[in-house]
């Protein structure tokens, strides 16, 4: 296994290293979650429409920027970022609710998807920590905080 301690492609991880693979899984989860959140933003309806519509927009915008940052980190490690909707969805393996669904189902599905993404991030963050890649670890800690905040908000909505 390649040890990753640097941030430049020249010195960093080769394509297929465990950390790069892990980051690509984070990328796939993040992108799939963004698409799910966007779908929910478009199709949510009912009593809480305005609040959910706006919250989902904020979330998918953040996820879009995060996906870019994660993909660029993969490149910085000397690997290639995964891409293509089919590939990303296949890697993420997230359940996709087919509209129309009750607004609470959209929220519940996003809770599961955020938990899945946070779980992947936690594993890869630990791996980055073990390999001494503090830049990747730092980026993933920040992502984890955002997912945990999102989970708190979504779960609060269902209570």
């Amino acid at each position: 296994m390649t040890t990753t301690r640097t941030t430049s492609p020249q010195e960093g991880t080769k394509t297929g290293s465990k950390l790069a693979e892990g980051l690509n899984q984070v990328l796939a989860d993040t992108y799939a979650l963004m698409a799910l959140t966007h779908h929910a933003h478009w199709n949510v309806e009912g009593e809480g429409f305005f609040a959910l519509h706006a919250a989902f927009e904020e979330q998918y915008n953040d996820l879009f920027q995060a996906a870019d940052e994660i993909a660029e980190r993969v490149r910085a490690l000397g690997a290639y970022a995964v891409g293509g909707l089919g590939t990303l969805a296949g890697l993420a393996g997230m359940e996709e609710p087919a509209a129309p669904v009750p607004q609470k189902d959209f929220v519940a599905a996003l809770i599961d998807a955020n938990e899945k993404t946070a779980g992947t991030i936690r594993k890869v963050k630990d791996l980055a920590g073990k390999e001494g890649d503090t830049e990747t670890e730092d980026m993933l800690i920040a992502r984890l905080q955002i997912h945990e905040k999102t989970l708190w908000m979504l779960k609060s909505y269902l209570k």
Partner: protein, 162 residues
């Protein structure tokens, strides 16, 4: 689980298939167990309903019985514990299937269950409507035979066939 001993290490490490719709057999049991733990001494009626479902799932009584128990539980669960209800519902939708035929002795066609309705009768009606919309052979038959069943054979907690 050891994650460092085979070539599928990355897949095992990063791919979590344990979402309610696609998860392993035990997930529904775990949701019920967590709810039971949280409910201890709080809501006797809910605990009774949870225990009924736990018993039915553990013993894999007939699928229609499980549906009936779930519909009963749903009334107590949906408003207060929506996330648990959602996960249980999606898990059951993935575990159960409806076999529809024009009558005894005819080949049956399988339909996925959508547990929108709050009663077994409602679920059955939805399956009937879907079958009739999907296949003309079911339109001409006044009384359809609908049987609920498990998608997969029974497994134990270790994943072995019981």
């Amino acid at each position: 689980m050891s994650r460092d001993k085979n070539n599928n290490e990355s897949e095992a490490f990063y791919s979590c298939h344990c979402t309610p719709a696609t998860c392993r057999e035990r997930c529904g049991h775990e949701i019920v167990d967590v709810l039971l733990h949280e409910q201890a001494d709080k809501d006797p009626a809910l605990i009774d309903a949870l225990l009924d479902l736990k018993f039915a799932l553990t013993h894999r009584t007939d699928a229609e019985e499980i549906l009936a128990v779930f519909c009963d539980l749903r009334q107590r669960l949906e408003r207060r514990y929506y996330l648990a209800f959602y996960r249980l519902r999606r898990w059951l939708e993935n575990q159960l299937v409806a076999h529809v035929s024009p009558g005894r002795g005819y080949a049956a066609r399988s339909f996925p269950l959508v547990l929108k309705s709050k009663t077994v009768q409602g679920v059955t009606q939805l399956v009937r409507d879907t079958a009739r919309e999907t296949d003309p052979v079911f339109i001409s038959t006044e009384t359809l035979r609908i049987d609920f069943a498990f998608r997969t054979p029974a497994t134990t907690a270790s994943g072995l066939l019981a």
